[in-house]
């Protein structure tokens, strides 16, 4: 059993953990969490249903079912991971399963912003490096120490310069990835902007 889930809070500068490799391009959010699990008014129980249909199809051999991956927290994926539906349920399910960070060849835009908004740093690496990590994971445990300040991932045998969008990196280091209060700091600017918008003036029938 996994230890009880606690969501990330505040500054995120280091993530240390075991890698779990999931091979495949264009893995969509319907696969990460099928739509039937979206019938909920909170995210609490999504962790156990992550990749439900893929896992059933593989009858216990899916990476998320393998005993050796039980404590993994750094997901290593290929290209266009998280494409399709905007459902935040997908990264929420991954996070509740135990994923704290994702390294991939590329991510779909909405999935990426959902990850930022809930405190999961996503990094990219060239295809070759991803394959190197995935091959390594096939044969042995890979523990990575991720340092967000320097965008580095280190382990006993492998070291990588991770790529991450600069504003995302800064938001993790400052804790502003949880954006609501930062956005609200500009209360007056928001009001001003609203009053300047041309369409606000002619949309008197709007509502």
């Amino acid at each position: 059993m996994k230890s009880e889930f606690t969501p990330p809070i505040g500054k995120i500068s280091n993530i240390n953990g075991q890698c779990i490799s999931l091979i495949g391009n264009d893995i969509d959010t319907d696969r990460i969490i099928p739509a039937r699990f979206l019938k909920c008014v909170n995210f609490d129980s999504l962790g156990e249903s992550v990749f439900e249909d893929d896992r059933k199809t593989l009858g216990g051999n899916h990476p998320f079912d393998l005993k050796e991956n039980k404590n993994a927290s750094i997901l290593v994926v290929n290209s266009n991971f998280g494409c399709g539906s905007s459902r935040e349920h997908a990264p929420q399910a991954l996070m509740r399963w135990g994923i704290k960070s994702i390294i991939g060849e590329s991510f779909a835009d909405i999935f990426y912003s959902n990850c930022i908004a809930i405190g999961i740093p996503c990094f990219t690496l060239p295809k070759k490096s991803i394959e190197e990590i995935q091959n390594y994971c096939d044969n042995q445990f890979l523990f990575l120490e991720i340092d967000l300040k320097n965008s580095l991932a280190k382990s006993k045998d492998l070291n990588f310069n991770l790529e991450i969008n600069e504003s995302s990196r800064k938001m993790f280091l400052s804790g502003e990835w949880d954006a609501t209060s930062t956005l609200l700091d500009n209360k007056n600017l928001i009001e001003n902007k609203f009053n300047q918008l041309p369409y606000v003036k002619f949309n008197i029938n709007f509502l």
């Binding site: 399709g84 905007s86 935040e88 908004a117 609501t180 956005l183 008197i204």
Partner: protein, 468 residues
Amino acid sequence: MSQNTLFDKVWDLHKVSILPGGSDQIFIGLHLIHEVTSPQAFGALKDKKLKVKFPDRTVATVDHIVPTDNQSRPFKDNLAEQMIETLERNCLEHKIRFFNIGSGNQGIVHVVAPELGLTQPGMTIACGDSHTSTHGAFGSIAFGIGTSQVRDVLATQTLAMNKLKVRQIWCDNKLSKGVYAKDLVLHIINKLGVKAGVGFAYEFAGPAIHELSMEERMTICNMSIEGGARCGYINPDEKTFSYIKNKLCAPKNEYWDKALRWWKSLKSDENSIYDDVIKLDASKVEPTVTWGITPGQSISINQQIPLLDDLSPNDKLVAKEAYEYMSFKPGQLIKDTPVDVCFIGSCTNGRISDLRVAAKVLKGKKVSKNVKAFAVPGSEKVATEAKKEGIDQIFKDSGFQWREPGCSMCLAMNSDKLIGNQVSASSSNRNFKGRQGSPSGRTLLMSPAMVAAAAINGKVSDVREFIN
């Protein structure tokens, strides 16, 4: 970096500040919500003791979980009932306008907002749904967001975002007979790939786009996200303005003149700079059908499913997965593939013009005995109009089931689902594994006219043989 495109202008107009991390803070002019991605956002608002900042700027409807056979309350499905009740409660508590079932204005959020005149040029529009890109058809900058971002819009009416790059997709000539907006957008996604749009907004332009009706333009922008682009848009023109005129929430009288003046000033300049430009010939597009598990895996009706050797190294991995999942052989023709279920509906193709086109194919014909076919209008307004025109009767006479409005089997959150490895001919937008409710169900995406043709023949067919 792009300059003077519609995207640049609308983005700059809505920019509130540059945040400490370097992202832009963008004001959201219209926020649309529905029952699936909003409850947790309202919950978070409560936890943070925050209020909805501009309740007038958010509009709600219910679409994903609604049953399409019997909509009487309480719903048979307890979880679905709980979700609609939560939305009703949240809208009441926060004074948000809610178009509920029976209001005459309920439906799929991306069908409803345009038909109410809420969607207008020059706005920023966000919704907790990836197909929010639909609204870009009106020259607005519209994109899908997740639940935490829904929370941010509710609490601040703004979002922290990085500006997208802009790619113009220029479509020359015009579509030929029997070829529709759906075929064009499937073609574009196939040519560019499902991840080409990551980091981009797509501007669809050129004679072929100009020629399209507003509803067809919505089909194109709707599927931008299937090409990886979170946002897709078309510069507004006379068609845009006349579509909006007289809609319930559209500006009226002297306000209309003011609106029109501003809207007419809103388009990409002739000398705008794009980050990328792609040109294609729309007259070469043929009726298009997907054969695989991503919307990019499509072919023309008379083509064969590609051989592995014909694909680029990057596409091979997913193609192998697709052959296996779909039980199709490389080199096999897609035409004449037997289908079990035919679905016409969704935010891509559930509007009145979609139903008209399908009805034209179905008139006087019968659905094949082996096929379960059903039509789900995109909204209550679409359903009312269809009844007025007798379209519902044409569908019913042909053997289609005529249902109540909702998202239905596009994502199968209600009881409309594939069973086992059934093959569905679907006018929706995603052919992902398990998308239509069965973990082994198989989806072939196509235009509504092509779905109608498949329903009659019981197999994938060329609709051009029906309309000559």
